[in-house]
Symmetry: C2
Subunit: 593 residues, 2 copies
């Protein structure tokens, strides 16, 4: 397997040339005090070192060894503890945290690049800190001052990690029907009883304490999602002097044996009258969770991207090294018996698919992260616009990047031929690890419904209009000869997206099943169109910088052409399918399947 | 995991209602003496029993345990030996074999269904007998009478198995540059020396002897593919009295650790002056191999289908059982807290995608198997047509069915949500097993080149014309009101395929790189069009039988509508991509990737 190399140049290009992150930071006082371009570049370089040198090297061993379970204890794979300690010593758990409690206050547009690096290095490892960061977000926004002083500071310090305990075996994504109970106690705490499954990092040996955020219902709570509350349940009680006390009544019952992310502990967590503390208001638990969700969901999208980037790097190195067959135009490798497989059109197609989709996903995730930053740190109209775009594009980020991420890991495996199937080459791990990203944190089908039903139809098209307006403005500003090859197909794609959105808005008023029938195709039409928008932006910068003679811009421009020529057309069939209506889905009885 | 149930009714529908296999058999004397409808039905029923009751139950254990290697010996997973013995006792290794040497002489159209059942039950298990059957084909056609009497009879009896030793580590699919040497000996045999990798069933404990078919080159052989010869190298020498003699100088050096098909032994085979016997003529080894290839490649296509069928059955059972969420139109499951997930449009989409693509693949593979039978058993014009269609559609079968098979196993896993990722539920095994089918026996990229470069461009469109003529004739015969909903889109698809083929034929005369650039998209355009053709045929029969009131035909008709409405449009984007030209692939230097 190729050594992982962080695409720092592309990250810097996106942050500062394409999206002008430094200008945004200067505009937003809460960010201006924490970050500028030099700081950001230094952070990315330091983070690259840890990803390349500490985390990437333990990935394959983690895949082969996995985590082990013994009487409630979970032992992580060889090297994980050392790498985690190095990560903590570098101060990374604090990166995106609230400065009031020891966080570094870095914007999402920067932590998103940080997450990508970690995930390219190893998704399993990354899950331990990112789950903690997600829980910290929720706690920072909704927790009491006491809880924040006691727990949040230690999570930022990396002493303690966290888990998110939502799913129950009978309920899956239908949180309204969870059964975990919270009984109010005289001291203001709650006694939590129930069993949760699929809890990432629910138990492990990396930190001395684990802070569980748990969804549960009071006995007299309203039925359904409006009766859910959020509780903080520590693995070990915390004494008033901040030392650890006795073990709380929470334990890991077993771990799952999975297709991938073998080195991530996926736990069954049993709460047996465990002491918990309310976060936020009673029965408002889902809202507290959703604070975290938008950040986590784009994070899961970035996991898919991370695996795909690694797969591309490996596949490219293999394709350049592998001598087999001859060019269609005759042997190029004079004096040798075969050419490298780079001469074959279909191999180039696979590599360019990966390159164009990965770089497009990175650009689009950077754009969406920027909207989250406007929503968090902006004011007035700017904030409102950021919120609208973040709400609209969060499900897109999660589902689109993971669908493409999985596709790209499979493509990268295919480049290796038979060796791609052999474990020692590392490509099959990426496929297996990436696969979960399409499933957890809400399946991609659920994301598609969130996008079309809640965000597009739910806002009567208003959220989508915000994005359409932005793309139209960009198109109008870039009507020039050089950009025409990109602006023209982008315009068509935007027109078609508007037309499809209107079509579905209208149709769904007659039959609500039209939404579920079209949702998955719609999400992908939206995705390819939004990706065309960011590819046009990248092409514009590359055109402007082409005169520098730097190959990077030449490569960017040609990859943009590839995207518009060969990948954007995918939307055409998707539109046809999205418009085909719900009858063919619902006019067939369940018994006839 | 659901119990596997063989889709016997669909198989019978295809054989006798859609493709009139019994009429074909009566027409062809060499088949008429061996098989009729009753025999065929009995064979399928018996085979279903062994697939459902003997092979399916050992699949999951095989995945978890895998094969083990110890000083050159390979031990198969628990239960494999018993299941294999039962398979042999049933006489199944002889099914498609030459009756002169103890085979049953059954046509491919029937053995294809048999292979699908076995693969749905377990691909790993199935590889042991199907590799043997493939080698037997080659031996039956090209081996000397002595070799056939000595080896073929025992392979049909199931006493001995076989392996195909082609790949070498440096050469992969580029067989022209293999290095294994064959030195002629005074006794007319050859001394074989070299190392082969990725040898399925190269060593195991299921049979007392293993017959290796090995590609090697004589010291003075012409360079490249025209210097390759084929040799039979037994694991144990065979004495003149047919007892086993000493061990030959062939051994298993190691086995691979893979993403899937864990219970199939993938071996490194070392030949160290092993005694081998020439099959066919010197330097004509590739031709002898290709006898087997057409049968094997459609077989690999059917492996992909087999895994997908199993995945569909599991996913359907899960979707019906799983109560979660509510219908968009309001709770249907009165008195319960949730509906089954069958109410969700996107779940129905996933299941119907699988159903329509699986049934379409089964129909198309049956059609192609029929062409192989005409090619093998037919005469005159009928044989020539069978040969043309088999040659054209073999790469299609291999690549299209395995790409769809993998897609469908992934889709079936997605229906399970988080449980799909957990090993005990069985869905992830199907994904991992199906994945290899896109890679081995020539990657799907190589198949796409075989189709477009060799078969379509190579014949100047003549092979394709044979198929186009057949589809046009069918269209002309079915111009009636009932069939219009299928005939109209089929006509458009055929017109577009013709136009695309002509376009690429013309373009490739200017630049041969246009072929490699378009090959993968072209194969899929062809596939969806051919599948529309067989779906139209199925719909016609279902319409004619609708009056019987049998739900089977109702289901078939609605699935046909689903295919034409939601899946056939996939070809539109593929055509756009196939026509986009090779410049975006080749105008970017390797260094810019």
């Amino acid at each position: 397997m190729a050594d992982y190399r962080v695409p720092l140049k592309d990250m810097s290009f996106l942050l500062f040339d394409v999206f002008k992150a430094d200008a945004m930071w200067q505009q937003l006082p809460k960010l201006a005090e924490n970050v500028d371009k030099d700081t950001a570049e230094a952070i990315l370089q330091e983070c690259a070192k840890i990803a390349e040198q500490e985390i990437a090297p333990i990935s394959q061993q983690g895949h082969e060894t996995g985590v082990s379970f013994n009487h409630g204890d979970v032992t992580t794979a060889p090297g994980f503890k050392d790498a985690f300690n190095t990560y903590v010593e570098g101060g990374w758990p604090a990166l995106g945290g609230d400065p009031q409690y020891g966080g570094m206050g870095m914007p999402k547009i920067l932590t998103a690049q940080h997450e990508e690096m970690l995930c390219s290095a190893d998704i399993s490892f990354t899950l331990y800190p990112v789950l903690t960061a997600g829980a910290a977000l929720s706690l920072a926004k909704h927790g009491s001052e006491e809880l924040k002083q006691r727990y949040l500071t230690r999570m930022y310090a990396g002493d303690w990690s966290a888990s998110m305990c939502l799913t129950e075996s009978h309920a899956g994504s239908d949180l309204g029907i969870i059964r975990t109970k919270a009984i109010p106690q005289d001291d203001g705490s709650y006694s939590i009883t129930g069993s949760k499954i699929f809890i990432t990092g629910g138990e492990h040996d990396l930190t001395e304490n684990i802070v569980h955020l748990v969804l549960a219902k009071l006995p007299d709570a309203p039925a359904g999602p409006r009766g859910i509350s959020l509780f903080l349940v520590p693995k070990f009680h915390v004494n008033d002097d901040e030392t650890l006390g006795e073990r709380n009544n929470v334990s890991c019952g077993s771990i799952e044996h999975k297709m991938g992310i073998n080195a991530s502990a996926t736990c069954v967590m049993n709460f047996d009258g465990a002491k918990g503390y309310l976060i936020g208001e009673l029965n408002k638990g889902l809202a507290c969770m959703f604070t975290m969700m938008n950040f986590e969901r784009i994070g899961v999208g970035i996991q898919g991207l991370g695996a795909a980037v690694r797969s591309y790097q490996n596949a490219l190195e293999y394709a350049k090294d592998r001598l087999q067959g001859k060019a269609a135009t005759g042997l190029k490798n004079i004096g040798k018996e075969a050419d490298s497989i780079m001469v074959h059109g279909d191999v180039r197609r696979m590599l360019l698919n990966m390159k164009a989709l990965n770089e497009g996903s990175r650009a689009l995730s950077t754009y969406i992260a920027m909207q989250l930053d406007y929503a968090t740190y902006g004011e007035g109209e700017q904030q409102a616009k950021g919120e609208a775009l973040a709400a609209l594009m969060t499900p897109l980020a999660k589902a689109f990047f993971t669908d493409l991420g999985f596709e790209n890991t499979v493509t990268g495996q295919q480049v290796f031929g038979g060796h791609g199937f052999i474990r020692e080459w590392g490509q099959e791990q990426l496929v297996r690890d990436a696969r979960i990203t399409q499933i957890y944190e809400g399946t991609n089908g659920i994301q598609a419904m969130d996008l079309l039903a809640r965000k597009v139809v739910g806002s009567k098209g208003q959220l989508m209009q915000v994005f359409i307006d932005e793309m139209r403005a960009y198109i109008n500003e870039n009507q020039n000869d050089n950009m025409q090859e990109f602006i023209e197909p982008l315009t068509t794609a935007v027109d078609d997206l508007v037309e499809l959105s209107d079509y579905l808005l209208e149709k769904s008023t007659h039959n609500v099943n039209e939404i579920g029938a079209a949702a998955n195709d719609y999400l992908h039409v939206f995705g390819y169109t939004a990706m065309a928008f960011v590819w046009a932006k990248m092409a514009a910068v590359a055109l402007a910088k082409q005169a520098t003679g730097d190959d990077f811009y030449e490569s960017k421009l040609k990859t943009a052409r590839y995207y518009f020529t060969r990948l954007l057309p995918r939307r055409i069939s998707l539109i046809a399918s999205a418009k085909s209506g719900c009858d063919v889905l619902f006019d067939i009885d369940d018994d006839l399947f």
